[in-house]
């Protein structure tokens, strides 16, 4: 009588007695890595922390790599999430139609590792600039510049915003929580051997009553309506018409009680725990991590007034977010900017000061990385969320 654990045991994709990774002596690579670790003792910092990624021999090879183009848009699935079985064919995922999985996978694996391993500053260095030089660059492809805080504008404290948001949440007819998202984003497509490119997209995810959902992604840049837009669908950057549909898909019913798929709570303490779990961590989030978690949240949920108020209170309670003043976001909306500088990246959160709703998040390189040709002021990513 097989219980569920026995069934699962029988489905171990990498059994100890299988063809790969079976117990035994170390292989050559493993021996070599051990030797390097033991040898690098002299090189390490006193507390063993603060080492730059490139210091480790095993890491150094993560970034430089094969000579073929790697447009690394597609992360592979996470270990913490479900995973296809080894050896199973992998369906192509997402808008990159026409890309053979065999080529896609090494790409994603490498880049995923690069992202995981390399510190934020270096990740930031994988940013744009170089890219769009040349007279033939179409206007819609132009890399966006960072938002500018209006000079002379009075910053509004996060406490004040949180108070207003709390008042809005109590008002009748306040916006309600809604699963799904509507976001316009400008983000980087990265490659090892080609300059990065900025890809503008609009994404709408809507959930239905039966727990199925639809996702529509179009290539568009609202700053340049009607003009061709750069896309890397198909694996190679090329221009597509404004509004070109990259993905239009309906997903079967699915359900999860884990953040960020579960509904976000409406009080600050529980929301903090929720965001930690959404970021797969058991430790308190730093301000940059918190902002990244907010982006994750808003990529899944359109917050109601209660959640926005909780989020505003949570942000107000932390340190490291500096009120900077008024900005007009890329969708033409006015908001207040809150800035965090960390590790060569400036994150700017844009909030509606009247309601506490998060309007957008911009990440900008603040430290030039000549090795990657990125300069201070290059925008790494920008998301503008809508209802």
């Amino acid at each position: 009588m097989a219980d569920e654990l026995e069934l699962l045991r029988g489905a171990d994709p990498v059994p100890p007695d299988g063809p790969h990774f079976g117990d035994g002596p170390l292989d050559h690579n493993a021996e070599r890595r051990l030797e390097r670790l033991l040898r690098q003792q002299e090189d390490r910092l006193p507390d063993g922390t603060g080492m730059l990624p490139g210091r480790f021999p095993g890491r150094a090879r993560l970034l430089p790599g094969n000579t073929h183009a790697r447009w690394g848009r597609f992360p592979s699935h996470t270990g913490a999430r479900s995973g296809p079985l080894p050896g199973r064919p992998r369906a192509r995922r997402g808008p990159g139609t026409g890309r053979p999985p065999g080529r896609l996978l090494p790409v994603s694996g490498r880049l995923r590792l690069a992202w995981g391993v390399v510190a934020t500053a270096v990740v930031a260095a994988l940013t744009l600039t170089l890219v769009l030089s040349g007279a033939s660059t179409p206007p819609a492809v132009a890399a966006p510049r960072p938002l500018v805080v209006e000079s002379g504008s009075t910053p509004v404290s996060l406490d004040r915003v949180a108070e207003r948001a709390a008042a809005v949440a109590e008002a009748p007819g306040a916006p309600r929580l809604r699963k799904g998202t509507h976001v316009q984003s400008w983000s980087l497509g990265m490659s090892d051997d080609k300059p990065p490119i900025t890809l503008p997209e609009e994404r709408i995810v809507r959930w239905r009553a039966d727990d199925s959902h639809t996702e529509l992604v179009v290539a568009t840049d609202p700053r340049h309506p009607g003009r061709p837009v750069l896309s890397d669908a198909g694996g190679k950057p090329h221009l597509v018409d404004d509004g070109h549909v990259l993905l239009d898909r309906t997903y079967p019913p699915s359900w999860s009680d884990a953040p960020p798929h579960s509904p976000p709570p409406g009080d600050p303490a529980r929301l903090r725990a929720y965001l930690m779990e959404a970021q797969f961590t058991d430790t308190s989030l730093t301000t940059p991590q918190l902002l990244d978690a907010v982006a994750t949240l808003l990529d899944h949920w359109t917050l109601g007034a209660r959640q926005s108020a909780a989020l505003a209170r949570l942000l107000a309670g932390g340190e490291g977010l500096r009120p900077a003043g008024r900005v007009t976001d890329r969708l033409g909306r006015q908001g207040q900017a809150y800035v965090n500088d960390d590790g060569g990246v400036r994150r700017m959160l844009i909030m509606d000061p009247a309601t506490g709703a998060v309007l957008g998040l911009e990440s900008t390189v603040t430290r030039p990385e000549p090795a990657f040709g990125v300069e201070s002021g290059d925008v790494m990513s920008y998301s503008a969320w809508m209802r």
Binding site: G48, S76, G79, R81, P86, G94, R112, S256, D282
Partner: protein
């Protein structure tokens, strides 16, 4: 033994177990597995002063964080990643029905994939890494009671999903499909 010697011993003893842990969560792509495992032991090396007497669950915990770091991304990457969680592939639905699709592995994985990441991990640690509750607690960084509770709930949910996704009652062509269907509900 010095910390360095203890580390080297743990490395030699557990290298392949950690590799399996990573491989089970990385789709078995050998090249990537090797790199993540290298990262795991690099982190472990930096923290070797913390290496407990039974280092394997601790190493799994490090590996878990490395995997999470490896997939924790920004902006577009993150959104794409999250979409993968709802992707047919991740749910195993892309697999064409065939004789091998009837094997327990295929639909047990499908059932597993329907659970939350947290549920999946506690189940994998128990079934694939063969850890006891106390060791699971080390990996997850929680107390033993919490781990036991998580496991209990995850098992219940896995059972429910298995009952939902397992193939229809065998017809005459598949009279030998017994093991997966022997368990009762509950």
């Amino acid at each position: 033994m010095s910390n360095d010697e203890i580390f080297a011993a743990a490395y030699r003893e557990h290298y392949w177990a950690v590799s399996r842990y990573v491989a089970r969560r990385l789709d078995g792509r050998t090249l990537d597995v090797e790199e993540v495992v290298a990262e795991v032991f690099t982190v472990a090396w930096r923290r070797r002063a913390d290496l407990p007497p039974s280092p394997l669950p601790w190493l799994y915990g490090v590996a878990r964080n490395c995997l999470a770091n490896a997939v924790r991304g920004h902006g577009r990457r993150r959104r794409l990643l999250d979409r993968l969680g709802n992707d047919d592939t991740a749910h195993g639905r892309h697999i064409a029905a065939g004789p091998e699709a009837d094997t327990p592995g295929a639909w047990v994985h499908e059932a597993l994939a329907r659970l939350s990441p947290a549920d999946q991990e506690v189940l994998r640690l128990t079934a694939w890494e063969e850890l006891g509750v106390d060791e699971v607690a080390v990996v997850l960084g929680c107390g033993s009671r919490a781990a036991a509770m998580r496991l209990h709930r995850a098992r219940r949910r896995l059972r429910a999903e298995i009952d939902r996704v397992r193939p229809e009652a065998p017809t005459a062509e598949h009279p030998c499909m017994t093991a997966p269907k022997e368990h009762g509900h509950g």
